[in-house]
C-alpha cells in the first residue's frame, strides 16, 4: 500500500508553453533545412518551399526561447563566458548561426533568380544542413541528459523528438508547396518519418513504464489522440493517398505539424508535472489555459510575420535579378 500524503508540497513546471513553441519552431525549421539540403544536393531540386519553411521557422524561433527565459534581458550572459559542459550553452551558439545561415541562403537564392546555383550557395546549403543536425542534436540531447526526468532520460524520447521534427519540417514544407501550387519535396519524407515515429514510439511505450504512465493517466488525449492518431497516422495515410491532390497534401502537412506540437506539449508539460520525489502529479495545466493561448497566438503571429518577410525577401530579390538579366 502506498504512503498517504498528509502534508505535501507541489512544484510548478519551470519550462512554460513558450518552450514548447520554441522546440516546435526550431525543430520544424531544422527538419525543413535537412529536406532542403537533401533535395538540393542529392536530387538537384530547387526546394523553394523547404527553404521558406527553414528560414521563416528559424527566424521565428528565437523570440519564444527568449520569452521562456525568466531573465530574457540577460541573454548576453550566454556569450560572455563559456560553459562547454552544458548542452544548452552549445545550443546558444548553434541557434543564431542556424538563423543567420538560413536567412543568408534565402538571400542568395532570391538574388540569383532563375540562374543555376553557384558553388558558394551549394556550400552554404551544406552548412545549413550541418547546423540543422546540430540543432536537432542539441535540442534532443539537452533534454535527454536530464536524469531527474525519467520520461526524457530514455533512448525513445530523443529519437521521437527528432523524428517528429523531421516530420513537422516535411509537413510545413508541404503546406507552403500546396499554397504555391507545387507538389514539392516533403511527401516522401513525411511518410518515412511518420512510419518511423510510429515504430519508435511503440517500442518506447512498451519498454518505458514512465511513458506508459504519462500516456495512460495524464495525457491520453494529447499523446494518443492528438499525437499518434491525428498527428501521425492520419497525415501519413493522407500523404500516401494524396498523390495529386494539393489540398490533401496541405492538410496532411498541417496535421503533421500539429502532431509534433501535441507530442511536445504532452511530454514537456506532462514530464515536468510528474513529481521527481513522489509518484504524484502536480496538477493539470489545461491545454487551452490563458498562458497557452497567449503563447499560441504570439508564436503564430511571429511565424506569419517571418513567413511574409522570407517570402518577400526571396521573391523581391528574384524579380530584381530577373530585371537585371533582361536589361
Amino acid at each position: 500500500m502506498p504512503a498517504v500524503d498528509l502534508m505535501s508540497f507541489d512544484h510548478e513546471a519551470v519550462w512554460r508553453p513558450w518552450a514548447v513553441a520554441y522546440f516546435l519552431l526550431v525543430g520544424t525549421g531544422a527538419g525543413a533545412a535537412l529536406l532542403l539540403a537533401y533535395a538540393r544536393l542529392v536530387r538537384i531540386a530547387e526546394a523553394k518551399g523547404a527553404l521558406i519553411v527553414a528560414a521563416s521557422f528559424a527566424l521565428a524561433s528565437g523570440l519564444p526561447l527568449l520569452a521562456d527565459l525568466h531573465q530574457p534581458a540577460r541573454f548576453m550572459h550566454f556569450y560572455l563566458g563559456s560553459a562547454p559542459g552544458s548542452i544548452m550553452w552549445w545550443g546558444s551558439w548553434f541557434l543564431p548561426l542556424f538563423i543567420v545561415s538560413t536567412l543568408l541562403l534565402a538571400f542568395m537564392t532570391g538574388r540569383r533568380g532563375n540562374a543555376p546555383m553557384c558553388g558558394g550557395e551549394r556550400m552554404l546549403t551544406m552548412i545549413v544542413g550541418a547546423l540543422a543536425l546540430c540543432i536537432l542534436g542539441y535540442t534532443a540531447g539537452e533534454m535527454s541528459v536530464v536524469a531527474a526526468r525519467p520520461v526524457w532520460n530514455t533512448l525513445g524520447f530523443p529519437v521521437v523528438l527528432i523524428l517528429t521534427a523531421l516530420m513537422s519540417g516535411a509537413g510545413a514544407t508541404m503546406i507552403i508547396d500546396s499554397l504555391n501550387g507545387e507538389k514539392g519535396e516533403g511527401r516522401y519524407m513525411l511518410v518515412v518519418t511518420g512510419a518511423a515515429t510510429l515504430v519508435a514510439f511503440g517500442l518506447w511505450m512498451l519498454t518505458d513504464t514512465n511513458l506508459s504512465t504519462l500516456a495512460a493517466d495524464y495525457a491520453p488525449v494529447g499523446l494518443f489522440g492528438g499525437f499518434i492518431i491525428a498527428g501521425v497516422v492520419v497525415p501519413v495515410v493522407l500523404a500516401v493517398s494524396a498523390k495529386a491532390s494539393l489540398l490533401l497534401r496541405g492538410v496532411s502537412g498541417a496535421l503533421a505539424v500539429f502532431g509534433a506540437l501535441a507530442f511536445r506539449w504532452s511530454t514537456f508539460n506532462g514530464a515536468q508535472l510528474m513529481s521527481k520525489t513522489e509518484t504524484a502529479f502536480y496538477g493539470h495545466e489545461a491545454a487551452l489555459s490563458q498562458d497557452a493561448l497567449r503563447t499560441l497566438a504570439g508564436s503564430a503571429g511571429l511565424l506569419i510575420l517571418s513567413l511574409i518577410f522570407v517570402t518577400l525577401l526571396i521573391n523581391l530579390l528574384a524579380v530584381r535579378a530577373s530585371k537585371q538579366t533582361q536589361a
Binding site: 500524503d5 512544484h11 550572459h77 513522489e278 496538477g283
Partner: protein, 239 residues
Amino acid sequence: MNSRREFLKLAMAGSTAAVAAPAAASAQAKPKRWGMLVDLRKCIGCQACTVACTIENDVPEGQHRTAVPVYELDGPNGPSQAVLPRLCNHCDEPPCIPVCPVNATFKTEEGAVVVDAEQCVACGYCVQACPYEARFINHKTGVADKCTFCVHRTSVGLLPACVETCVGNARVFGDLNDPESEIRKLMAQHETKGLRPEFKTGPNVYYIGLDDRLASTVAVGGGARDLRQGLETSAHGEV
C-alpha cells in the same frame, strides 16, 4: 559549530578566544565541508524550519527552500506518521552545476551549492536537473533559488535558520571534515542514509531513522494532494 547548544557554548567561551586561538587555527587547517544531519526520530513535523527559512530568506508564498512532507506509512502495529525534511543536498557531484549554461551556480569552498543571482539567466535547466526538487525559479527575484545552507549566516558564525529554530534539535549542522564535530560524532554512532542514492550525487544531507520507503521515489496517494486537486484517487485529468 554543530548545533544550537554547541554554538552557544562557543559564544560563551568567546572571552577566552585569545587563549584558544592557536588551537582553533590548527583545527581549521583542513577546509570546512558543511553538512547536515536530520534525526528523524526527533522531528515532529512542526514546519518551524519551513517558516524560519521562508522568513530568513524572503522566499515567496507557495515556494520553499526547505519543507517537511508528512506521510502515513503502514507498519507492523498499524499506520504511523513519518516526516521527511527536504532541502538541497549540497551534493558532491551536483547535477545542477554542469548543466548551467552561464556558470551561475557553483560550490563554495565549504561545499555549499549556491547561485549567483546576478549571473543567472533563469533558464530553469538546473531546476530540471535536480533530482531532489530542491530548486525553483523565485517568483520575486525571477532567478533560480535554493537552500544555501544560509551562507550569509554561516559565513559570520551563525547556524542556518532552520537549524537555529528546530525545536527538537532534529537538524544538526556542522563540518564533516572535523572528526570532533557533533555531526560527525552522531554519524559515527548511528546508521545514516542519504536520499536518492540511485543518482550517485553524493548528498551531504544525512538522515537518522530514514524508512527505506522514503529514500527514493515515495509511492504516495490518497491524501492531501488529491483533496487539494479535487481529484478522486484513481481519476486523472489531461495535461
